[in-house]
């Protein structure tokens, strides 16, 4: 019997565990221009990071290629929550799209996060809210909201107090305190954690001798960061992340990669940068993942989640030693 890929995390019911990552899939209306791409193939769609006001974004160039990776500095260009809730989401509803939609919110203050959540709660076709406390654009003093447990917890608590929708906290890898931040988010009410967002990076253009990106630094994604992402997922799962589902992402480009994240402890996976060079990746990844599960004798995806761990309990981050 073929193993089932059906997945439910934080109440989001998905045909497979593949969530199109925020910022790499627009608002779900672009990849469908490919005749061989169908949104119904994917587990869920996480919409582009949305702010309270429309946001211009960073000056170009906004993207650079690096060894096995991509550096971006979009700067959260988006039309603002008003346009997303009153124009884009209704348009998606009218199109008959059944794929679960997840909003991705980015505030500049705790209050903005809360207001964004409230506004999105009014939408009728949202399955969850992903709280982007890891966008390197939006800072809490000197650091990301997501770099330390306290600000992270404040944001999640504030968003939690807004009505109903399941909450996913999206964590940054740019901190030594991932486990503490994860725990703080769960304690503050996050229903799931997604990890990782991009690593801060820079490329310098050798002819102009200046940083290549208009914003100087950018976020590194793609295969290059996969080992860092797998380590974070493994570490958070080990430290108690198995108490809430984890969405693992960072460089997934085929079924092997997705299986690796599942074994590390991810209940679902994010598919991002690979879409830029292979729009068929979601199909290939779910086929590859199913084949792995079958070969290993797992009947359900959930049986494989965290299979790389010996024991599953909250522990002091001792697994970070190398």
């Amino acid at each position: 019997m073929k193993p089932s890929l059906r997945t439910t995390i934080a109440g989001i019911e998905m045909v497979n565990p593949l969530m199109m990552s925020s910022g790499t899939f627009g608002f779900g209306e672009d990849f469908t221009r490919f005749s061989d791409f169908d949104n119904a193939q994917v587990g869920a769609i996480v919409l582009k990071g949305t702010t309270l006001k429309p946001r211009l974004g960073n000056p170009p160039p906004r993207i650079a290629e690096t060894p096995a990776g991509v550096l971006n500095s979009i700067g959260l260009q988006n039309p603002g929550v008003e346009a997303v809730v009153t124009e884009i989401l209704p348009r998606l509803a009218e199109s008959g799209l059944q794929t679960p939609l997840v909003a991705n919110i980015a505030g500049e203050t705790v209050d903005e996060f809360a207001e964004l959540a409230t506004r999105f709660s009014q939408a009728t076709n949202l399955a969850a809210i992903e709280v982007n406390i890891s966008c390197p654009n939006v800072r809490h003093g000197d650091l990301d909201f997501g770099a330390e447990p306290r600000p992270a917890s404040e944001v999640i608590a504030a968003v939690r107090s807004a009505p109903h929708l399941p909450l996913i906290a999206k964590l940054t890898p740019n901190t030594a305190r991932t486990v503490d931040v994860a725990r703080a988010c769960v304690d503050a009410g996050a229903d799931a954690l997604s990890l990782i967002n991009t690593l801060t990076g820079m490329v310098i253009d050798l002819s102009s001798r200046r940083p290549l990106l208009g914003n100087k630094t950018g976020g590194l994604s793609g295969p290059a960061i996969k080992p860092v992402a797998v380590a974070k997922v493994h570490q958070v799962f080990d430290a108690g992340g198995h108490l809430v589902p984890l969405v693992g992402m960072g460089g997934i480009s085929n079924g092997d990669d997705a299986y690796e994240f599942i074994l590390a402890g991810a209940a679902a996976v994010g598919v991002g940068t690979v879409l830029f060079y292979n729009h068929r990746a979601p199909r290939e990844i779910s086929a590859g993942l199913a084949a792995h599960l079958e070969r290993a004798g797992f009947r359900r995806l959930s049986d494989a989640v965290g299979a790389a761990h010996s024991k599953k309990h909250w522990r002091k981050g001792s697994d970070e030693t190398t």
Partner: protein
């Protein structure tokens, strides 16, 4: 053409496993590449582009290229310059290899209506590549086409001496691009180096001389592709003469289909506030009048 709508495009995009039909190395590291891509060839319009996955594992992202021409309605021909990893890998392919390409992408030149009797194309270096298909379309529409190419390096396509005299330049400025002249277009090459047969100066100066000579009655339309500074000058001259000018902007891209906002081009927004449009959907061809030329 006005400020962009930021709406999803609904034009279909094809992915093809395109066999290499022919590769020819040209002077100065330029390369001409013919690919079998019937779905794309049948639907692509001048100014649209394809996104090509370089062979091998050394690159991740696809590389955008205009289409030089479509052939036999089944093939497309690219003309490109080796500048980095991706183009180096592309220049190494052999007939029979397959390339993973997607297209047609972008908006293309505005050929829907009110085209002018006279069209002036201004190109910098291999910015000439996406203009040949445009020149073909303009011929079909019956426009008289002029092409001014500026280059410090080797001319990316075959050149010959034109026997046609032009009143707005010295008679010894006669290097022409063979492909374009065969289409009936008048082509001249400008260079900042002194080179026999070349116009000494910028391509935009050729445009200026032409317009000056043609006088105020001239209802030309201007099309340009090349480096930012050249496009900016060209846009300025066109504006001075009150002419519509379309520019093809080469921006760095992620997805190529509108999903990632990587390919931002700063436009002057409705109320003077800048907006960023996507070169891969609202572009790569923009009305020069709405581009914010101070952005770079």
């Amino acid at each position: 053409m006005s400020a962009p709508r930021h709406q999803p495009s609904d034009e279909p995009v094809y992915r093809e496993s395109a066999p290499v039909v022919r590769v020819s190395a040209l002077r100065g590291g330029h390369c001409r590449l013919r690919l079998g891509a019937p779905s794309i060839a049948a639907s692509i319009r001048p100014g649209q582009f394809v996104n090509v996955g370089p062979p091998g594992d050394s690159t991740l992202l696809r590389r955008p290229f205009g289409v030089y021409q479509t052939l036999d309605r089944t093939d497309i021909e690219l003309l490109f310059k080796v500048v980095g990893k991706g183009t180096a890998a592309l220049a190494e392919v052999s007939p029979g290899d397959e390339l993973d390409i997607i297209g047609p992408l972008g908006n293309g030149f505005d050929l829907s209506e009110d085209f002018a009797e006279t069209a002036v194309l201004v190109a910098g270096g291999f910015g000439v590549a996406p203009l040949y298909a445009l020149a073909q379309a303009l011929r079909e529409k019956g426009s008289q086409t002029y092409l001014f190419v500026g280059t410090e390096e080797d001319v990316p396509v075959e050149t010959s001496d034109s026997s046609m005299q032009l009143s707005f330049v010295d008679p010894d400025v006669k290097i022409t691009l063979t492909d374009f002249e065969e289409l009936g277009a008048v082509a001249r090459v400008a260079s900042m180096r002194h080179r026999p047969g070349f116009f000494h100066g910028l391509a935009s100066e050729l445009l200026e001389r032409f317009l000056h000579h043609a006088g105020s009655g001239c209802n030309a339309r201007v099309y340009a592709c090349g480096p930012w500074a050249m496009l900016k000058r060209t846009a300025g001259i066109a504006a001075e003469y009150n002419l519509t000018c379309e520019v093809l902007l080469e921006e760095r891209m992620g997805c190529g289909i509108g999903a990632c906002m990587s390919c931002a081009v700063r436009l002057k927004g409705e109320n003077g506030e800048p907006v960023y449009a996507r070169a891969c959907v609202e572009g790569p061809v923009f009305d020069a009048a709405i581009v914010d030329w101070d952005a770079k």
